[in-house]
Assembly symmetry: C2
Homo-oligomer: 219 residues x 2
């Protein structure tokens, strides 16, 4: 047991990419990869790959590279994917349902096991093998299955209440899609996914682009 206690957030965000890259290499039957190989596949400088991987554990061999199997296992452990992690989604609208059915999580051994909604019409429906439960069942189900991961896809005004209920039930990491700043107790990890804000950033790039074009015309 020597998982590192602290990894910088930017590095952390890249670890899943390394994991997927190594997984792919393993499927192709490769036994060893270099930081150069990984960097090329992901569009990152080799030095950054080495630096990032040094946080995971000392696994490469100078002159040789990284053993695919070994590094994969380390990344798996570092990302907490050794035991399958289960998550719940609160808010069974289109987005919540899309996440519940999203096939991409499986590559990391992540699984959404239940949806919750307050709309009586939705209760009992199945989405990709996942049942929609009433909100009242949340605490019981979370505790019974020892769920630690919660995803919020309710409208903004309901999000804080849902977050509170999740924390109360024992969830320690929340992925929030509602465009609102939530308050959670110390020790609960919160990640915000603001889809509209992301799209607005792309809109800015387009605006800047036309601005630059105009400028060069007038220059």
């Amino acid at each position: 047991m020597d998982a590192k206690p602290y990894i910088p957030r930017p590095t952390l965000g890249r670890l899943p990419l390394y994991y997927r890259c190594l997984d792919e290499a393993a499927r192709l039957g490769r036994e060893v990869v270099s930081s150069e190989d990984i960097g090329r596949a992901l569009g990152l400088p080799a030095a950054q790959v080495r630096k990032d991987l040094s946080y995971v554990r000392d696994l490469g061999r100078p002159g040789i590279g990284y053993q695919v199997r070994v590094l994969l296992a380390s990344l798996k452990q570092c990302l907490g994917l050794t035991s399958d992690k289960e998550a719940i989604v609160v808010g069974a609208g289109r987005l919540g349902q899309a996440l519940a059915a999203y096939p991409g999580f499986a590559a990391y051994g992540l699984r959404i096991v239940a949806l919750f909604d307050h709309d009586p019409a939705k209760i009992g429906q199945q989405v990709a093998g996942c049942t929609i439960h009433p909100l009242a069942d949340l605490p019981g189900l979370v505790q019974r299955l020892h769920i630690e991961l919660g995803i919020i896809t309710v409208p903004a005004p309901a999000a804080q209440t849902v977050a509170d209920a999740m924390v109360e039930a024992g969830i320690v990491a929340i992925w929030n899609f509602a465009p609102v700043a939530l308050t959670v107790p110390e020790g609960v990890q919160l990640e915000n996914e603001d889809l509209a804000a992301r799209l607005a950033v792309l809109s800015h790039y387009i605006a800047r682009r036309s601005f630059a074009r105009e400028n060069s015309r007038n220059a």
Copy 2:
């Protein structure tokens, strides 16, 4: 016309939050807000708010604060939201449909106007007022409507082909949900949204948490 030519990426990511915050303040009838007010609402230090807003334009008044209407208009221009921006989604699976129907974009004047899919069974279906078109119609539609924003929600193996088609058709900013490193020509803005990778990061935090707990027990 004095839109700033360059804004750091972290700042850029916060601008939409300021926009939403100011929009809210305007709806509440507030005429002036301070960097302190904004910071409190968003959980950011006031100094950072001021620094960020200084990239947008010089708009605050010392001793007073920021005029809500004026700052809102500046942010709108900076984010390119003065003229309504339209986007297309390629990949009419659950995720693509959820995005097409997502109500949150409207707050920024962003709108998804068409879905594309290669599945003949889906062609012609409506999703939240948005028609699903065959892929062959993409170039024509993009050019006719002068669409500059494309969203990719197809499986990873198809993503590069879709990106190429988008660029060919004239799209200059791509939001890619497929978990794969795409190649686009210089000048085309690419933002990756890797949902599974995001969830994996949360999984790591949980793992670290239990590691920390175990450690403190043994300490």
